[in-house]
Symmetry: C2
Subunit: 174 residues, 2 copies
DNA sequence: TGATTCCTCCATATTTCATTCGGTACGATC
DNA sequence: GATCGTACCGAATGAAATATGGAGGAATCA
């Protein structure tokens, strides 16, 4: 999905046509479909259609468009960290120094235990979300971070309990 | 899925049978299937079977078992935060004080913009992952947090860029 | 106003895939 | 060596995804 398509206005292109492509505005029906799929992507088009008062093909067409436009980035299975042998979750705030920043980020992302890499404003430059087998593995991961170029300091927050974990979802009534 | 089923040993129940139910050990084939589904849950059983050298029904049976055992917790659509009108991601470290802790956590989880709620060891007691429409909404969210019982302080880390975002996944070659 | 275009929807038809159903092979138990 | 439980396969079935053709409505433009 390319960036910058159909920005906001798109008037005055040069010919007579106002908008060469329609702006893929998301309406409430789209939002309902998105929320339902963000909760459970195994729902059938028939069920979705029942809930938003559309026929299965109409829902199918909307979902196809939402995927094409990058609103739906994919469909994934949510796994239980503990069940796959990684019961220890932690956030690591990494303080970085200047150069080779992008390369450093890529190095973080290349580590299997790392689930998320964000750059943040505030005294930590990078926030990592990591999931490891045990404290030993977390310790080894930290040692590995310190060996990487551009890493000045790291501060860990070991998660004791997770009470909510979900993805982006439209806030709309069903 | 109930907790505590088939713990570790399960010997010496009282009768002669050693283990009333088989331990659902996860083997490498399961791990490959899990990894493939964590990447893209729209893959067909036929494709999965091709990749792990099993027939579609055999894969189906394994996936059914993995779901039953809670290893696969669900299948969800990953949405683009920006596309659904929430481009601003932030982590909030909340310092809490004593009583009514669980209730406070539930209150956090009940806020639509909140995606994750974790309790952590370290000076922050709770870490929140939130996604809002703009800085104004983030500010209002913070104000709302401060009004809640048990919230002593909050520190925000506004995300400038996300370079990796995925869920738990088995680290195994395909 | 009327013609045209684009978009969205529906009903139906088709194809693909999930799921079920025997039946076989293998290992463990007794 | 008989029996049980498990995991697998091929074939059959059923359900759902997807393709197709056409109707209706809004906006555009003559």
């Amino acid at each position: 999905m390319r960036q910058g398509e159909w920005a906001t206005g798109m008037e005055e292109t040069n010919g007579t046509r106002r908008r060469p492509t329609a702006p893929p505005a998301i309406d409430d029906t789209d939002r309902r479909i998105l929320r339902l799929l963000a909760e459970d992507a195994t729902r059938t088009y028939a069920e979705l259609g029942r809930r938003v008062h559309l026929s299965p093909p109409a829902v199918h067409e909307r979902v196809r468009r939402l995927k094409r436009d990058g609103v739906i980035r994919g469909t994934v299975a949510r796994l239980d960290g503990t069940a796959i042998g990684c019961p220890l979750l932690a956030f690591i705030h990494v303080e970085t120094e200047g150069r080779a920043f992008t390369r450093t980020l890529d190095s973080f992302a290349a580590i299997a235990d790392v689930e998320e890499v964000h750059t943040v404003a505030g005294d930590a430059g990078v926030v990592l979300k990591v999931r490891t087998r045990d404290t030993g593995d977390l310790e080894r991961l930290l040692a590995r971070l310190y060996e990487m170029e551009g890493v000045r300091a790291a501060k860990s927050f070991v998660v004791l309990g997770t009470y909510l974990e979900r993805g982006p979802h439209p806030d709309i009534d069903l």
